[in-house]
């Protein structure tokens, strides 16, 4: 019989809060993590604002040895390791101190790129004919699976250790893949997560595509405006989120605290057909992903209490709302509550799904709906589909049962996951 699957630990490194406690406080308060970024201005980006997690050396030294930090220049691995280790400890688990790997515990930790700053240093050295002076750490910091390689070594995992990559779906997809592996009984614990590098070399391509806002350089905290009539593009950001995904049986046997149950989900692609392209989602695929996720979770559209959207603050937000409305067959006042964390943290790219799912699971577990910020002027396309009250702008304290979250990525890929409140075996 398939296992029921629950979340028993979380960790997060977000632009508006590092660690679960600071992040919770920030999310409830609608606190922005978007700041002016002098480096982007100096490099003549159009967008001079960004969401970067604020880390100090003392904190970093708690997760990495002095040797590991020699010639270390991979922000994605840094964020991922901190979030992953935090999730592990939050679940009441310990890093493996024996010589025998944890055969039943694995990890799928995604990334879009790895160590892009380290890669840049290496490219300069190679072009200066200094390849022999690269040292030993370029490969492990720049391979896409670097984050799972670092983490699995620290934890001593012996089940599948993998890094998925599917653009801005990566985090949500990772959680779905871990859910499947635990559900099928191939592992009793999987560490899920996703991370994204920081800085101009990851964000430059988006800036050049003119998908980032350039109208809010003097007002960073108002810069990320999902669902707003004055939205003018996303704010580039970075960070990591992580989850301990565990079979209910295993969690109960060790008396673990349970945040929420994963009921199911779906991932698919629009095939870059119809209205879908490399960079635009095929609405038929998005709607199908949502309905298939609900079918997989054995829920109906009427069961959905809260939606955590992808909602990046580009011209696509209106389309996304229409897709949700069509897929659920719900509109106006009958539409569920919907929110977007990106108003506070910007678009954390490959890490977006993981960081946003941490916020979503906190809401479900603790009984609140976080406020949407910077959408006091809701876009007319949003209001064509749903009522103003469905987009809370103040914190709502309310217990609810079901939350659905979707992420969409370049390549016309989608991932959607359904969480249910868990209490006392129910």
């Amino acid at each position: 019989m398939a296992s029921r699957v629950v979340i028993t630990g979380m960790g997060v490194v977000a632009p508006n809060g590092v660690g679960l406690s600071d992040f919770r406080t920030a999310v409830r308060a609608g606190k922005s993590g978007i700041r002016f970024d002098p480096q982007l201005e100096k490099l003549q980006f159009s967008c001079h604002i960004a969401g970067k997690p604020q880390l100090d050396e003392d904190l970093i030294a708690r997760y990495f040895s002095a040797l590991e930090l020699r010639n270390f220049n991979s922000s994605g691995i840094l964020y991922g390791v901190i979030a992953g280790m935090d999730a592990w400890l939050d679940a009441g688990l310990t890093p493996n101190t024996t010589e025998e790997p944890y055969w039943d515990y694995g990890m799928i930790f995604g990334a879009g790129t790895s160590g892009i700053d380290r890669f840049r240093e290496a490219i300069y050295k190679i072009d200066e004919q200094q390849t022999r002076r690269l040292g030993s750490t370029v490969v492990v910091q720049t391979m896409n699976s670097g984050v799972s390689a670092y983490l699995s070594g620290k934890l001593g995992l012996g089940n599948q250790v993998y890094s998925n990559s599917s653009a801005c779906c990566t985090g949500t997809e990772s959680l779905l893949m871990c859910y499947e592996r635990v559900k099928s009984g191939q592992a009793s614990i999987m560490l899920s997560g996703a991370t994204s590098d920081s800085g101009p070399y990851i964000w430059g391509g988006f800036d050049a595509m003119k998908v980032c806002t350039f109208k809010n350089n003097d007002t960073p905290e108002q810069g990320s405006r999902p669902m707003s009539a004055s939205a003018s593009g996303f704010v580039p950001a970075s960070g990591a989120g992580a989850f301990v995904v565990e079979s209910l049986e295993h969690a109960q046997a060790r008396g673990a605290r349970i945040y929420a149950e994963i009921l199911g989900g779906h991932s698919n692609s629009g095939g870059q057909r119809g209205a879908g392209s490399m960079t635009a989602p095929n609405p038929a695929a998005v709607q199908r992903c949502i309905t298939s996720a609900l079918d997989n979770a054995q829920l109906g559209a009427a069961d959905v209490d809260v939606i955590n959207g992808h909602l990046t603050a580009t011209a696509m937000d209106g389309l996304e709302i229409r897709n949700w409305s069509k897929a659920l067959g719900r509109s106006g006042k009958n539409f569920p509550y919907i929110n977007s964390l990106k108003g506070m943290v910007g678009h954390c790219l490959s890490a977006a799904g993981s960081i946003e799912c941490v916020a979503a699971v906190l809401e479900l577990s603790e009984g609140f709906i976080f406020p949407n910020i910077n959408c006091e002027d809701l876009h007319p396309e949003v209001l064509e589909c749903i009522d103003l009250d469905c987009v809370p702008q103040e914190l709502i304290e309310r217990e609810f049962k079901t939350l659905i979250k979707a992420s969409f990525g370049f390549g016309d890929v989608n991932a959607c996951i359904v969480f249910k409140k868990y209490h006392d075996g129910q």
């Binding site: 040797l67 020699r70 002076r133 040292g135 030993s136």
Partner: protein, 84 residues
């Protein structure tokens, strides 16, 4: 530069990578970087780059392959310094 002085200059370089700090304390010409000091084999190239920088020498690929013990390192460093 005599052996003792070379060892004392080599010690802080390998200390960064040595996992076995007890073996590091009693480092002598017979000490093996991997077997005794438990240096990760991938880090041997980092040790060599640090040695190159500290002694302002360049160690060729053939010599690198031999630099597995303190004595071999001393011999190579002496030779390279002599060539300067």
């Amino acid at each position: 530069m005599d052996n003792e002085e070379l060892i004392s200059r080599l010690k802080p370089i390998v200390a960064v990578y040595a996992q076995d700090k007890v073996a590091l304390e009693s480092m002598n010409p017979e000490t093996d970087f991997i077997k005794d000091l438990k240096i990760n084999s991938a880090n041997l190239v980092d040790v060599i780059l640090d040695v190159e920088e500290a002694f302002d020498i360049e160690i060729d690929n053939q010599s690198m392959e031999k630099m597995l013990t303190v004595q071999a390192s001393i011999d190579i460093i002496k030779h390279k310094i002599g060539l300067k």
